[in-house]
Assembly symmetry: D2
Homo-oligomer: 331 residues x 4
């Protein structure tokens, strides 16, 4: 039987999830909620589901809850849904404040429900194939990870003002991918950044638009992350795993394999898939599929994070440290 879903939040990412839920095997989009009633009704009309008038109603009608609301509401909604015994797929992050994350973890202790955070990149076919190749020993012992992750363009200033900063809103994905690829926790982190694209986001918000990170695990594996808020050529998403017997690179992707040869350019490829909606379209579908599978079966597939990650930002503007994440899930 298809699992009944409540979708909370009908913004850009909510609309995406609604479409994926509507076409996913084993799921039925039962109801949607959004404080913006028109947004909720549009989704409901497109996919033939109900509109709930409160989060409580929505959660009450469903077996599984997909939380795609604004960040500040995530922790509250997780607690609400967990206590109602519903399976939870929540967009990242849990909260910008690590204390709130810890309180959330404590609040839902004992709620025996699957919880998955929306780190969709783990489900990207290329990134996953990289990890699988590594896990299968094809590159020997992993030694270095290099993650390149650059957005096609600057977000609106309004977003920057509330996002929590580039490390928390953008690098968060790369920190997650790094942990996924390293299959280990970094014990040392060095990070630095600059406001090169728009110096005023430095002066106004104390934020960066260009950053570099190096992390090191207890056994010496090294990991580099670079981020930029703007790449002239589009969304730049590459992962390199270097090991004792070889290397794999999960490279950028294009809509198709047309190449152009002209008097000024040779072997010029198609533009990269523009941004996360296009680039990670398969990952979002796979994320929902993995969640459906995990919500059904008691077994925990390797790619599903049932636990609440613990992360702590410490120190000044150029230094970010992450505690080893203990990875104990709700009992």
């Amino acid at each position: 039987m298809a699992i009944k879903f409540a979708l909370l939040g009908c913004g850009r990412i909510g609309v995406l999830h609604a479409r994926n839920l509507a076409k996913a095997d084993g799921a039925r989009l039962e109801t949607v909620f959004d404080p913006n009633t028109m947004a909720a009704e549009a989704v409901a009309k497109a996919h033939g589901c109900k509109v709930s008038t409160s989060v409580e109603d929505a959660i009450g009608e469903a077996e599984a809850v997909l939380i795609a609301t604004s960040t500040a509401t995530h922790a509250d909604l997780i607690e609400l849904a967990a206590k109602a015994g519903k399976a939870i797929l929540c967009e990242k992050p849990i909260d910008l404040d690590l204390d709130r994350v810890r309180a959330c973890r404590k609040a839902i202790e004992g709620c025996n429900v699957p919880i998955q955070i929306g780190f969709n990149r783990r489900l990207d076919p290329g990134h996953r194939a990289a990890r699988d190749a590594c896990a299968a020993g094809k590159i020997g012992k992993l030694e270095q990870v290099v993650i390149t992750s650059r957005d096609p363009g600057m977000p609106p200033r309004g977003y920057t003002a509330v996002s929590g900063g580039i490390f928390r809103d953008m690098t968060i994905h790369d920190f997650d991918v790094a942990r996924f690829m390293l299959n280990d926790e970094p014990t040392e982190v060095f990070a630095t950044g600059s406001a090169l694209i728009d110096p005023t986001i430095g002066s106004d918000f104390g934020d960066f638009d260009s950053i570099m990170v190096i992390m090191r695990t207890a056994d010496g594996k090294l990991c580099h992350i670079n981020n930029s808020r703007r790449a002239a050529f589009g969304y730049d998403q590459r992962i390199e795993l270097f090991g004792s017997e070889g290397m794999v690179i999960s490279d950028n992707r294009k809509a198709h394999e047309l190449k152009f040869y002209g008097s000024t350019t040779t072997e010029s490829a198609e533009p990269y898939l523009n941004f996360f909606i296009e680039r990670y379209a398969e990952a979002y579908k796979a994320e929902v599929a993995a969640f459906i599978a995990a919500s059904r079966r008691p077994a925990d597939p390797s790619h599903v994070r049932r636990r609440l990650p613990r992360a702590r930002a410490r120190g000044g503007s150029r230094r970010v440290c992450q505690d080893r994440q203990e990875g104990r899930g709700p009992q």
Copy 2:
């Protein structure tokens, strides 16, 4: 309102079309028919539609008919559906016998219905982008077309016995792509072939498994096609358009962009998408979408062939000629 479809034929390609129809916007799979009742019921169950007990019943219940039955039945079913006033999407070919094709054309004269033949490669995103680039003048005046089309492996002998030969069952797609890319009709055709993979298909069926073709249009454009029934590295589908100001190549496609670097191979890519079901998955979806659009609107989008192509095989084993196809559709 969604267009009601009858699907005739629930074999491999019928199952594929059923799935695409089920997820297509603007279509509803109303009923299916297959002489193999179990096959029909399996499709009906998967997509929640009816099973008809005859082609007449199926056609009667629908606004549009998708013909995915065996080749020998195509012309009869086209006539039946056209006379019933239904829009028709029929798998290639219309018939192995050109006289039967001509008779079919004559039989449905006056039936004012859209007819589209399943030349899906025209809808492949890369191939289409190649043609669009050419049409937009990006490579200047088109001068040469080179089409490489090799299957991953030999078909069963039973198929070879009835397929009509490699030119009619395999090269037919490349002849179509050639006409699509040339945007013109060849006036001279030279073809040759060999039975290199399995000499017995030469001695037993007078067929080839490896062929090469050159075609020339009235104004001198040149086109080369090569085919093989077996490529050790998978499905090899490449199209090159060479013009006065540049070239475009629509290259092979992989599931993702993982590259491997090891002690014996460098920059080794993922395997190519294995065969037409995977390689042309988007093309099949786009084919159905184009047909839905054409069935709704009177205007004829450029990518939809509403007409019955006329093709005539002439001469001996090594020489194939194609008449200029007049392209007059049913009125």
Copy 3:
């Protein structure tokens, strides 16, 4: 001891050979001759060698003769040098008239000297690696060869007037490469062409600027050649060998591996090496090295053609046939 060379002809290709001889191990450029005395003196000055006042003098002073004069003189000079007992490296072709070639062969029967014709592409590292991979069985049994060979731009009309036509001045290299790659002789040849770039070379000279060829060997191997006198993106030199267990492609080459990513182009590569001087620079050096080796040792290395090829053009403008070349060299 270094072999003493006489260079006959100090035009573009002669200058190239002079430079390669000057830096080659085992060779010494002893003397040069050119009816244009200034050209000869310039080469002599650059490389510190003598200027001869006649071909007879030049040949008399040397152990080996490199013939880089105009085509019409090749056969005479071969006869002269062979009768003088000198090793001969002669630029292609021997003569435009096949009867003259045959007469030359007859005239030098009994002159036991090494003769090598300047089919430099056999010595290109990539092309040679393709053949070596095939010979080593890496692609199984060879089934198809596809040769793409397009010049960057039209030659001067004066050249076209005397070159003997595209098949004899340009495709000649590809016919040679085809024989080298097939490791066999074609028994059937079909060729066609158009004057697309400059229709007046058709009307004025009966020549083509765009051609396509298919050849077939006795055992069924297929080979396609396409040529164009002008490629907007530069010198297009690709060879594809397709076999029962795989494929190798010797692709175009660039000066280095810079890639550019901008707002309008992605993964854009460097321009291809512009023309034969640059593209086949290594091949010209290897050609001289192979000739030096062959002139020294009695053994015939596999890559050296000691024999005079026999070729005959037969039939009309669109059909070229090549006899099996018997490959008996001078005794």
Copy 4:
């Protein structure tokens, strides 16, 4: 007139330089010196030059001195040659001890001779094209540099014992390339490393075999370097320049462009050029040519470093700082 060279040191790199000098325009290898007389005589025989019995004699006979001796002798020989008024091309580094480097700089103040240090990678055609593209504004304002530099295999333990450590013997090239690409001096440097390939080089020598570095310039440009002593797939030399309007990547290089397609690998390329001798063959030639040009003309071409770089290693094992290098050359 050709400049007369003395080559000091006839080991592996000396032999390479001898061959390049022998074929370079504008240079003549006059004499060689090596404490190993047999090595010196072998080079002298190969290139037809003298053997000197002391460095003083060698220097005395030449106009320019190429120092390719062991590291410990570099500073002494620079002083000797500079005081003799000879142009100097010296292999890196000047000395492992920064105080010795400073003393050398002071010692030769007032010797008005060109001095070039053998940072050959600046002359690599691809790397140089990357910098030229950046300098020409093709990628807008430079923001990030990513340098990947991995050797094919571990050096002998004896080398590790005396090399000064990975940062001083291997990363030194990447620090130089970083400065060349940034066209600026880093003001902050963070570096970390591990002994992953051979843990005993950590325990025995306090050295690393795998390192990562981040540098930041005063105006915020970011630069990442990663090194490994062993890459299973060969010599891995890539440079990425990311700017406000695009990106260039100078990628790895192969001997030619053969690609292999088989049942287990697709699009597999040739192995990378194995190590610095092959990979940077053109760079070594260009280095000598640039030095010859600089020794002749008073003007200082952009690619020639006439100055003594000042570098200082500071702090513990994981932290390396480089002073801004003032770039004042000898007056």
